[in-house]
Subunit: 645 residues, 2 copies
């Protein structure tokens, strides 16, 4: 039975590609392949591996696959959660496989391809050194018992990359239903999840949700532009709606996120123990948690690096950014003077130049700072990938926030110039959106397209994408760019949320632009994922993590800014003709009330819908019952008599 | 081996007392005792039970105990966490019992008496009906499969009470080391925990910690009184220190709480599945989570009761409380007028009368409202005890907050009378402290003492407490009051925290009074626990729950009030001679900065100390490893060969 499941070479399905450096020593390759195919009992990964033979001969590229049985056992090891026949979600185990929906021993589609690739990645990364002191053939690439072999190969440059293969047919189906036709409707999130994994599907889910959530704001915002409403009471209404609405949408997102990730099984997935990230280095020592030998780096040293180097550097950058902003305002003043001196079409065009230059400079500064932040955070030597990511996100967020919004704050609360604020906001928002769309998707797509055309000309074939041989497919995909994660995509949304909410009572049209941008963003991001980049490995996730906090913080800040803006308006001013004091006190009172309502709302709206809560409770109850049953069975075994009165 | 552990009647140790109603039918008693002693396999609790024989004959009082082995198995069932020989904390299981510190088959002190009593309570409460349709002898006391027998007996009045027995010797030791001698030092928290359980020990831990944390404030506050400092810059400094300090102490408490509960094992204890609370009623139906038959009550009906009845009622009470407050201010004004008309010793004494009357009225209103809140919350028919408690706490907190602080807010922010504020604050604080100490401990102690003396006279014995026979001890203890939980004690601390922090820049001496009160509070509460009340059942807990949130909310509110008070002071006023506007804006800016610092501090300070984090990570790692090992072992069993290239 079990043997019959085993895959002969005939139905070897390539899932993951391993590219070794050119000129990698024969003994290294032999050792690595042996470790990969070796039995679990001998410390191997028990996977299948095949060299890729192209027209140019063997190129140090290997295809990794696994038998169906191996993948099922791997699914158990990574803790995959699947749907059972009774519609409940449960951790998959091989012994209970028959209870799962759509499971059949001959149904090789029970696990999606993305899941299979995730399992293989997990197994490869968990291939650990036994007694090897170094990678055979490379004495400088040290190993110690328990060190992940693949990570050492990556850091020592022997392994160029590992990436999962695209499935041309699936991809075509997916891209057709996703962005292939112009239609009004939801994205095929479940299919995206099956193909790209949960992290990416959740990003697209959030993008879609956020766009829908902005529509009410956009709809209410349009008449302000059309009828040129300048009544402040209308602006006040709009801002108040905006503030409460932004709280509601963030709370409701948590519920939708729970629904999605429950359906995908990641809400129930147990957190795996985190291994040190690949770049982590230190003196060999004993990890107090695992008791294993691994590099150890003192937490105090790291704290010193963070507070004595990174923090001052970030502050310096923030100062520099403010300095650049002041230059921008000088330029702006100069342009205004110029316009007033010689009124012409050219001079009125010149009025927009400083803003555009500033927007471009901001983009450039952001990108440079980003490299510095990555370098610094990597130098801080965090042990865990999650801690690395959090420190990186924090650094980048603070800088981006200042860069994008400092000038607007300055205009609003120092210059008190609402007209300039509206104009700057519009310019910044639109410029940055266009730049982003261009730099992020269209440019890489065009480059990729050109490269492919050259490649095809080179191999002088007239085949379409679908007819490519495996070798050609691999050669093409390995040259594609690597998708670096959802960070930049979320950051863009975060800044957009800032533009929309921070000064919403001054420029109600921002929501309209945001909605328009997001609709094209969905298409360009989808294009990027399907056509521009290598397929990324699926990453299970249960929520959007630190971004939820970032968006919530932004919505708290926007309460403050909007209240001040409304208080500063001449119309509201006119309501308190006798005493400015009363005005300020009223504004402060309203602000505190709004903040209190926000916190109470966040507290009262449950994070998970009732039916998900019930399902989770049911699972917890069952596991507790099972435990109790065990205890009871054990007690019965003992079978001891009790005397009683 | 196992049999030798079994307890013969000779070493029956009474742990828990069950008091049945006078005239309970013979068949009911027989059925109940049978169920209690019956084997687990037959659905019994497998405990030991003995009727208490007093001088007056059998009185329907039963003593429950259990064999050592039974208790150990019970400890596993309730998920008790104990310390291992290698100093790590682990869930106790009978099969791994040898690895635990101080475990020996003949060491009957491995489990503390409080733990044994908790286990027995748990086992009794989990004694469930099988096929009984009613309690034998009481056709109106309906049962259904799975219904807790003890809870039905309690709600139908057949079972008067269940309570754990005091251990006279232990109690004497404990009370001696706790409050028996006047000493400077910490309370014996670990001993308190062993005797009274974690919830009560944690309350005393918090009380002690809070008192220590107030000392710096008190020390800084004293010179303000001694030197009659009236400089506002000093008040500003004091208030700023106070605000940051209150954030720090609340964050640090979480860490200390983690240290304590890790040591006590409750931090690691798995949450048990919550059964419906005893008072919960409804139509018999199927619980969607458990699939068991139990009363079902529609959540919508409950929401309607909450929002249409409870909420309006609470609002009405709040309005009434404000109305009473206005009367108080009229009285106050009248007293002032009277004093100004006829200046005499009597009239100056009269000045204090309204405040004192008001404080007394507040206390009375609080107590009446408390009963109403309990009735309403019980009528809302919450399924879970925790949800009942949360709704009750919320109702009581809001009312108490308004009752205690509304008059102060009125004086501060409507009358702008700082002198009156200081005087009212002092009067309210001191009066309520004295009233509380009296009503809570001294009065019950005195009543108890008198009752005991009468009892002893009645049995005309000259024995001391230590020599009491078991029968006499039980008869005495069953008449003692029941401790209703830590709610009132925490509430008192919460209100005290409000007095100290909300107006700290006006009355720095509040902290001094709070410290003095808390020192006596420790003694009077200890006295109350040891001498006045029945021994309560131990309740495992990992934190102070909703009170942490309540204290944090209070500290946020106090930032707002203090900033306003400082802004209103004439000295700060004098700093901005030209523009009141600048003053208000500066105050608002400082307030927002302080709030931001508070939130960042709460975010940056880790909730658990590093070593506890490491220990928890280690445990998590071990359990994940164990799981992996299981998967691996299973894979090896399959032993399938994999072909490779």
């Amino acid at each position: 039975m079990v043997e019959s499941l085993d895959t002969a070479e005939s139905n070897f399905r390539p899932l993951v590609v391993i590219e070794l450096a050119k000129g990698t020593k024969e003994e290294t390759i032999e050792w690595l392949t042996k470790r990969i195919v070796d039995k679990k009992a001998n410390g191997g990964a028990q996977l299948l591996i095949k060299p890729l033979v192209t027209e140019n001969g063997v190129e140090n590229i290997y295809l990794v696959g696994a038998s169906h049985l191996r993948l099922l056992l791997g699914a158990e090891a990574v803790g995959l959660v699947k749907e059972c026949s009774d519609n409940s979600m449960r951790s998959f185990t091989y012994s209970s496989r028959k209870t799962f929906k759509h499971f059949a021993d001959d149904n090789h589609n029970f696990l999606t391809m993305a899941e299979c690739q995730y399992i293989i990645k997990h197994e490869l990364e968990n291939l650990r050194a036994k007694n090897e002191k170094m990678i055979p053939g490379y004495p400088q690439a040290k190993l110690y018992p328990g060190k992940s072999i693949v990570r050492r190969l990556l850091t020592s440059g022997i392994l160029v990359q590992i990436f999962p293969l695209h499935d041309r047919e699936e991809l075509k189906k997916l891209s057709h239903s996703w962005y292939g036709r112009v239609k009004v409707g939801y994205q095929p999130l479940d299919n995206i999840r099956c193909y790209f994994g949960e992290t990416i599907a959740l990003y697209f889910g959030f993008l879609e949700y956020f766009t829908f959530a902005l529509i009410p704001m956009a709809v209410i915002g349009i008449p302000y532009y059309v009828f040129a409403w300048e009544d402040y009471d209308k602006y006040v209404m709009f801002a108040t709606f905006n503030l409460l609405w932004s709280t509601v949408i963030l709370e409701v997102w948590k519920r939708i996120c729970a629904i999605l990730t429950y359906r995908w099984g990641t809400l129930l997935m147990k957190r795996q123990f985190e291994e040190p990230r690949p770049g982590f280095h230190g003196v060999l020592g004993i990890n107090p948690v695992t008791g294993r030998e691994e590099p150890v780096y003192s937490s105090i040293k790291r704290q010193l690096r963070i507070y004595l180097v990174s923090l001052p550097f970030v502050c310096l950058c923030l100062y520099f950014s403010l300095y650049v902003m002041m230059i921008y305002f000088d330029l702006e003043q100069w342009a205004l003077d110029y316009h007033q001196e010689n009124e012409s079409n050219f001079s009125s065009l010149m009025l927009y130049v400083p803003s555009i230059i500033y927007a471009v400079v901001i983009e450039v500064m952001n990108r440079i700072y980003r490299y510095a932040a990555e370098f610094l955070t990597s130098w801080e030597n965090h042990r865990l990938e999650s801690s690395y990511q959090n420190h990186l996100i924090l650094k980048v967020l603070v800088f981006n926030f200042l860069n994008c919004f400092a000038s607007l704050f300055y205009i609003a609360f120092v210059l008190f110039d609402m007209k300039l604020l509206r104009q700057s906001l519009a310019t910044l928002l639109i410029t940055s959106q266009i730049l982003n769309q261009f730099a992020e998707s269209l440019l890489p797509y065009w480059l990729q397209k050109r490269y492919n055309r050259r490649m095809k000309k080179h191999t002088c074939s007239k085949k379409t994408d679908m007819d490519l041989s495996l070798a050609e497919q691999v050669t093409m995909e390995k040259e594609m760019g690597t998708y670096l994660g959802t960070f930049d995509d979320y950051l863009e949304l975060f800044l957009q949320f800032g533009y929309v909410s921070l000064f919403s009572c001054v420029y109600p049209l921002a929501a309209v632009f945001a909605v328009l941008n997001n609709i094209t963003e969905i298409y360009s991001d989808a294009l990027k994922m399907c056509r521009v980049y290598k397929r990324p490995f699926a990453e299970p996730t249960a929520n959007i993590g630190v971004w939820q906090l970032a968006f919530e913080t932004m919505s708290v800040i926007s309460v403050v800014t909007n209240c001040i803006l409304i208080g500063m308006s001449p119309q509201v001013d006119a309501l308190f003709p006798d005493s400015k004091m009363d005005l300020v006190l009223t504004v402060a009172l309203v602000e505190h009330l709004l903040l209190a309502i926000k916190f109470i709302m966040a507290f009262v709206i449950p994070d998970k819908p009732r039916d998900i809560q019930m399902k989770l409770a049911k699972l917890e109850f069952e596991s507790l019952e099972a435990l109790k049953q065990q205890v009871r069975a054990f007690q019965m075994q003992l079978h001891f008599p009790l005397s009683h009165h």
